[in-house]
């Protein structure tokens, strides 16, 4: 029971339940399963991105370039689709993941091999990748009418009552869950965040593991690039501008420690959902959209305060008396 209460994900689920309940008092339709599944679908891309960012943050790094990577890959696939409408979509998704992975690998390489701090590397590539998006497109937008019906339609297809976009999110969540809990790479990602020195002693190549973390976040950004463009049916240089901070905010709300080593797949997903619910609920409960920013800012601050309380090191208890009292 005690362990259950300490569990961050339980708290988040509780917070989300309360949030939904509060919204439902003002707009009963919000809590309807159909609507909740829409909210889930609307939040899918953010969840996917948050998972990619989580992997990087766990290793005591940060990837500020995810949104730019997304814009670049999105532009690439949109241009391919516009030029060769017959190009099969599954292959195109692979191209997106591949391009994203390459951009992520560039980040990872600079961190691993050159030894530049991740925040500096990705601050640089944040502008470079977005600039590159301009260069390859000449600044021109790719509009809905230039995209093939399959390109746009895939994520909107219904499968077992859910849009394919939701299935993308579910598949990513499952994949990440298995990776983080059951594979050597997943555990290494945690280990190097908890204690990089000890990781070296345990035979983990810290630099290479970070490199993989950036490759993962890059590949995820690539996948999200396709999903984003086909969802919002416009590819431009400004796509998802500034979105990197939303992704990080989702992770922070989800209890992923910026100091590395602490966090879970469930946390990242719930953190993203929390933001998604807020942004989709504001219009329906008739709160001016101008309040949204302040509300999510407050949510981030509250989450940070609560998480910090949870993480605060419990002092050692030397005194027998105190020990008895605490038990």
């Amino acid at each position: 029971m005690n362990a259950l209460l300490k569990n961050r994900e339980i708290w988040l689920v509780g917070a989300i339940a309360v949030l939904i309940a509060v919204i439902a008092t003002r707009f009963p339709g919000f809590a309807a399963p159909r609507n909740l599944s829409t909210v889930f679908n609307d939040t899918s891309i953010l969840m996917i991105l948050a998972l990619g960012q989580m992997v990087v943050i766990l290793t005591r790094s940060i990837d500020l370039s995810m949104a730019s990577n997304l814009a670049f890959t999105g532009m690439v696939v949109a241009m391919i689709n516009a030029a060769y409408p017959g190009f099969p979509i599954p292959l195109l998704i692979l191209v997106a993941i591949g391009v994203g992975l390459i951009l992520g690998a560039i980040n990872g390489f600079l961190v691993w091999r050159i030894g530049i701090p991740p925040i500096v590397v990705t601050l640089g590539t944040l502008t470079i990748y977005r600039g590159a998006t301009f260069v390859i497109s000449g600044g021109a937008w790719v509009n809905a009418d230039k995209m093939s019906p399959d390109f746009i339609g895939l994520q909107r297809m219904q499968l077992l009552g859910l849009p394919v976009l939701s299935w993308f999110a579910i598949a990513t969540i499952v994949l990440f869950f298995v990776m983080m809990t059951r594979t050597a790479l997943g555990r290494s990602l945690y280990a190097i965040g908890v204690n990089p020195t000890a990781s070296v002693y345990a035979g983990i190549d810290v630099g290479r593991t970070k490199f993989f973390a950036f490759c993962i976040s890059g590949a995820i950004a690539g996948l999200a690039g396709y999903l984003w463009i086909s969802r919002y049916v416009i590819a431009s240089v400004e796509v998802a501008n500034g979105y990197e901070l939303n992704i990080i905010a989702a992770c922070v709300i989800g209890g992923i420690s910026i100091a590395g080593g602490i966090g879970s797949v469930g946390g990242a997903v719930l953190g993203a959902l929390f933001l998604g619910i807020i942004s989709s609920a504001l219009p329906v409960v008739n709160i001016s959209p101008f309040w949204q920013m302040a509300i999510s800012g407050t949510a981030i601050l509250l989450a940070v305060v609560l998480n910090a309380r949870g993480e605060r090191k419990q002092g050692r208890i030397i005194l027998k008396k105190a020990e008895a009292a605490a038990a």
Binding site: F27, G29, N35, D42, F134, S137, G139, A140, W141, N143, A144, D145, R156, W228, R231, Y232, V233, I234, S236, V237, E238, V239, A240, N241, S279, S280, L282, P283, V284, N286, P289
Partner: protein, 307 residues
């Protein structure tokens, strides 16, 4: 070249402005000896546009024709440009009167305001709820049109009920979220009016995705080439716009009139704009170009090939 004229747009990459650029080049060729600098920020903010204007001042261009991201914030830098002897006019999205010599409205503001409501009302014989999805909350021209629309409502469209105005910031993701929010909050919504080319596409895509074609009509201002799809699939019964090519053409012509031919921009002045004709400045030194033109199933095919 005898004259360097800078065509400064809100943001690069927008199909509407690319079309205006085409018109500008056409005008330059016609006038002869005119070099067009087509520029603007990639992100539609006033600060970025100010840096662009600063570099144009340094290049000692002869004239700046700007579609502004903010009516007020650009005034100081444009004043500086005028102080250094550069002709400044605004077009499409204007700046406050003290920041330019004249403003070329794509059309009459009141007329546009009325048209965007009319586009929705024409298909709502029994009236109903409509909402507006605008661009950035700072966009000068959109705000003026919305004000005009609000003014026209009680006078001419008594049974149309404007329930909300939301802003998509000309960002497709934000516009999509806002359009979805509108549909959720107002289940009886009959039309979304988006007087911006990014917003209108996003709204039409949302209506298509949510299977509301036939229930919710998306209308507003759209570039035919970008919007054809949604006229075809029925998400929209029709949209309006003016000719962006003519707009770019006229902007350059007017800039040339003032900068090279040394015409004076003052209330009542008549200025020629080549093949488009002639305009007369009102007492704020602005003039409309032409009435907005409506695109629907009957003519979209033809115009989508042009712009």
């Amino acid at each position: 070249a005898d004259a360097k004229i800078a065509l400064v747009v809100k943001s690069l990459g927008n199909g509407f402005f690319d079309a205006a650029h085409k018109g500008a080049l056409e005008a330059a060729k016609e006038l002869g000896g005119v070099e067009i600098i087509y520029t603007g920020p990639t992100k539609a903010t006033a600060e970025a546009q100010i840096e662009v204007v600063n570099s144009l001042i340094a290049q000692k261009v002869d004239a700046i024709a700007i579609s502004a991201n903010d009516a007020d914030a650009l005034v100081p830098v444009l004043k500086k440009a005028m102080d250094r002897g550069i002709t400044v006019i605004s077009w499409d999205s204007g700046v406050a009167a003290e920041g330019r010599q004249l403003h070329l409205n794509p059309s009459d503001t009141d007329l546009i305001g009325e048209t965007i409501i009319k586009l929705a009302a024409d298909h709502l014989p029994d009236g109903g709820d409509v909402a507006i999805l605008s661009a950035a909350s700072t966009a000068t021209n959109q705000n003026a049109w919305i004000d005009a629309a609000k003014k026209a409502l009680p006078e001419k469209f008594k049974n149309i009920n404007l329930v909300s105005v939301v802003y998509g910031d000309d960002d497709s993701a934000k516009s999509t979220d806002e359009a979805k929010g509108l549909l959720k909050s107002y289940p009886n919504l009959k039309a979304i009016i988006a007087p911006t080319t990014v917003g209108v596409v996003a709204a039409a895509q949302v209506v298509t995705d949510e299977n509301l074609i036939g229930k919710v009509n998306v209308t507003g201002l759209a570039l035919p080439s970008e919007f054809k799809k949604f006229i075809d699939n029925g998400a929209s019964q029709g949209v309006a716009l003016w000719n962006p090519i003519d707009l770019g053409y006229s902007a350059v012509y007017l800039a040339y009139d003032l900068a090279v031919k040394k015409e004076e921009a003052k209330p009542g002045a008549k200025l020629s704009i080549g093949r488009v004709g002639e305009i007369t400045l009102d007492d704020t030194n602005s003039a409309p170009m032409a009435a907005p033109f409506t695109f629907d199933k009957s003519n979209i095919e033809e115009f989508s090939k042009i712009y």
